[in-house]
């Protein structure tokens, strides 16, 4: 994957496939630890301990169209290559959460990429689900954490679907404007 936003787009697909109705994604810059932390949490159907123990292995997948599952191993590899770490937890019937930490100034850390585009399009292409995105930028004097929540967007939109391309573009600009200090 070229950048971290593409990993997020990819791993969010697992949450969608797991029947999640809510996915919470966060990107946190922690310059005092020289870390960039990505966390994704869903309320999908989760995994048993047995499945969880194999999820970091590319030869584990429950998909039927191909024999390897690459999403999780790729993210784990990418974080570890950048001097970071990866952890995933899951409770069957409750949901799954994962955290990938990257060394923020590590030479192998991929750029964050178009996170605003990823969050807005996930929201627009899955209008029946809720996405909550939190972004904590490193910049000094930043106003703390920015929170984007599709439940608020839907309250404003009323009967206009989130899938309208013009709405997706608007939300992308909104997130971009509020997370300008990224990287």
């Amino acid at each position: 994957m070229k950048d971290i936003s593409l990993h997020i787009l990819d791993v969010a697909q697992n949450s969608i496939a797991a029947g999640a109705t809510r996915v919470e994604i966060s990107v946190r810059e922690k310059p005092w630890l020289d870390e960039l932390e990505i966390a994704i949490e869903d309320n999908g159907n989760g995994m048993t301990d047995e499945a969880l123990s194999r999820v970091e292995d590319p030869f584990y997948t429950t998909r039927t169209t191909r024999k390897v599952g690459l999403g999780i191993p790729l993210l784990k590899h990418s974080a570890e290559q950048a001097g970071g770490s990866f952890a995933i937890r899951s409770v069957p019937g409750k949901g799954t959460s994962l955290v990938a930490v990257f060394g923020r100034s590590h030479i192998d850390r991929p750029p964050v990429g178009d996170i605003a585009g990823v969050i807005s399009s996930l929201a627009g292409m899955n209008p029946g689900m809720d996405f909550i995105y939190r972004h904590a930028a490193a910049a000094q004097g930043s106003t703390g954490e920015y929170v984007f929540d599709t439940r608020e967007v839907k309250a404003v939109l009323g009967d206009i679907p989130l899938s309208e391309p013009a709405v997706i573009l608007y939300l992308k600009e909104l997130i971009e404007a509020n997370t300008e200090c990224a990287e």
Binding site: L9, D10, L70, E152, S163, E164
Partner: protein, 137 residues
Amino acid sequence: MKKVKSLDDLKRMKEGLQANIALREKSEHPEAMTQIKVAMATCGIASGAKEVMDFFITNLAKRNIDAIVTQTGCMGYCYAEPTVEVRLPGQDPVVYGDVDVKKADEIIEKHIKEGELVDGIIPVNYETIDKKYSGGI
């Protein structure tokens, strides 16, 4: 580019959007709008599905085309990613392989606007992606 900062601007956009939707509802097939499905499994994303998706979203909005973009998992054509399914109202879906921005532009201009098929269709025995391989040959 002018930056927008809050959901207040979205409130102001609502009227324009509502007018568009009202127009659509008066058309012949209110329930059936053109659907573009982009395959979003790891293989698709790694080979450029996001750029293709972005291009569709931006250009459907810009060119004021009444269509929505949705996503699906892997269609099983990892060798031909990014893949895109196009479904015009009342018609069978068509799957295109190796879609890039140039192909996406052609799909909008020829297939979606004119109803003309474009090169690059993957011949498949399926009904829809969701019911894959359920159909005969």
